[in-house]
């Protein structure tokens, strides 16, 4: 499985630089293909960081519009993936910081047409079988959600990039414009908070 993923990545990269160059020359179809290479991952990253589908969509739109506007400045000094993730994480960090100032939004909102669960456009890994296990799983997820909300925006971003996106700490440092060591320290703090808050669940 790991091998397949690696091979697929290599194949993508070969086409990617050509797509970028064509898009830099104004080829809109090439730009659309470039977006398709990354749009699912960008939406997933934003969704996991922000835990709100509409915010994730806002970041998705803004990130790709910025890429479209500034692609001519991309000089292949880093990978396109790193450049794109830097834009996405910066947008998410801004939003997370704003949220720290105002109140964290509720998962359920009242609308004129009734109650709307904001997480309806999200698929979660479901616990199967045993109802007791499902209940525990639901409680644990709520707890994890609460712990994630308590992390600082930087801790949350580093944790997300490492745990769910599988990026190496060195790459996370590049994405966040910091050192590998700083990213590592951030990850330590995040995982320590997780341990403390969730230790009694496992």
């Amino acid at each position: 499985m790991v091998l397949q993923v690696t091979v697929a990545h290599a194949a993508v990269r070969m086409d990617e630089s050509e797509l970028i160059r064509a898009a830099q020359q104004g080829d809109e179809r090439a730009f659309e293909q470039l977006v398709r290479l990354y749009d699912q991952n960008v939406l997933r990253l934003a969704l996991n960081l922000l835990r709100a589908p509409e915010d994730a969509n806002d970041v998705f739109q803004e990130a790709f519009l910025r890429v479209h506007k500034n692609l001519h400045t991309f000089r292949f000094d880093c990978s396109f993936h790193t450049w794109l993730y830097r834009i996405v994480t910066n947008l998410c960090l801004d939003l997370l910081r704003k949220r720290k100032v105002r109140r964290e939004e509720a998962a359920v909102v009242e609308t004129g047409e009734g109650t709307l669960d904001r997480m309806d456009s999200v698929e979660e890994t479901r616990a199967h079988g045993d109802p007791q296990r499902q209940l525990m799983s639901r409680q644990l997820k709520d707890r994890i959600q609460a712990v994630l909300a308590d992390l600082t925006p930087r801790e949350r971003t580093v944790f997300e990039l490492r745990h769910f996106q599988g990026l190496r700490l060195r790459t996370i440092g590049e994405v966040m414009g910091t050192s590998e060591e700083a990213a590592k320290n951030c990850l330590f703090r995040a995982t320590q908070k997780m341990r403390t808050a969730l230790g009694d669940f496992v």
């Binding site: 730009f31 939406l43 506007k69 456009s121 769910f164 669940f201």
Partner: protein, 312 residues
């Protein structure tokens, strides 16, 4: 390693971020310490639970996001600043077309080549330069339309006029146009021609900077080779050498790398001295280079400098 250090390392172990030696030391400690084994088992269980908290966007959310992006990109496209728009912004003259347009004067038609022509008229250049008069528009494009009272409409057009300019390559105004054209992302052919002309004037610092930029950043290998040609006489200049070294290690075109290594080695031969920085570059190149000719040149140069062909 004590228990505190071991437990601090667990996240890095679980994420595969420990070095071989660090992992060995940690495993040696875990083998000896039952409490840490238990703590690691707890962390592993916690990690599995954290995996279950990952969110995946539904297909609907993804499709909606894609559709919205498509329409927003389409809306942004006509307003996107073109290369020539940026160049135009660097000049002080503004063409305000058709005074009758009143409110929309700010968006008045501005010309690309015609605009340059207006700035570099013969009078402003003092002689050596010749510009023909403004021609009729070659292409017109509707920039935007808006209602203008009952039954009326305002239409703002972008028009492009062509104008033939002629003059010496040494003329500063001609050079300025060539420098701008050397970075025109929309036409590699124009860049090749511009760099080909500019490379004969590398004594100008501005031209040399443009050549260095083209060599490092132009996506077209033909343009990079022309730029390299122009920089040959300056291979001893420290900034040029730095750029050449960077290109040697990073350019994806073997033709460009071949010319660069020939130039660097030839220049090195003329200096006839061992250069540690050069040795280190060539050793790094040996580690990553796949082209046989370049490897052979590299190996020969290292041997002549009494340096090993690999870095250890």
């Amino acid at each position: 390693m004590n228990c505190e250090e071991a437990r601090k390392s667990f996240p890095l172990l679980l994420y595969g971020e420990l070095s071989f030696d660090e992992e060995e030391r940690l495993e040696a400690h875990i083998d000896e310490c039952a409490a840490c084994r238990e703590a690691l088992a707890r962390d592993k269980a916690l990690w599995r639970e954290l995996d279950s908290a990952e969110l995946h966007p539904t297909q609907d959310l993804l499709e909606d996001a894609r559709a919205e992006l498509k329409s927003r990109l389409a809306a942004a496209r006509p307003m996107r600043e073109s290369f020539w728009d940026k160049i135009r912004d660097g000049f002080s003259i503004h063409f305000h077309f058709a005074p009758g347009l009143g409110q929309v004067a700010g968006a008045a038609v501005m010309l690309a080549l015609g605009f340059f022509a207006a700035r570099v008229t013969p009078g402003s250049l003092g002689g050596a330069f010749h510009a023909a008069g403004l021609a009729e528009p070659v292409t017109s494009r509707v920039r935007y339309i808006e209602p203008d009272g009952p039954g009326k409409v305002q239409i703002v057009l972008d028009e492009t006029r062509q104008q033939v300019l002629s003059g010496s390559v040494e003329d500063p105004s001609i050079q300025r146009l060539l420098l701008a054209a050397a970075k025109d992302p929309s036409d590699a052919g124009v860049r090749v021609e511009s760099v080909d002309l500019l490379k004969n004037e590398p004594q100008s610092a501005e031209v040399r900077q443009a050549l260095l930029y083209a060599l490092q950043h132009d996506p077209n290998a033909g343009v990079r080779l022309k730029a390299l040609d122009g920089l040959k006489a300056f291979a001893e200049d420290p900034e040029t050498r730095r750029t050449l070294t960077h290109v040697l290690l990073n350019d994806d075109n073997p033709g460009v790398r071949t010319q660069v290594i020939d130039l660097l080695i030839q220049q090195h031969d003329s200096l006839r001295q061992r250069n540690d920085a050069m040795v280190s570059v060539l050793q790094e190149l040996m580690e990553k280079e796949s082209n046989n000719y370049i490897r052979m040149r590299c190996q020969k140069a290292l041997t002549e400098m009494n340096a090993s062909v690999e870095s250890y």
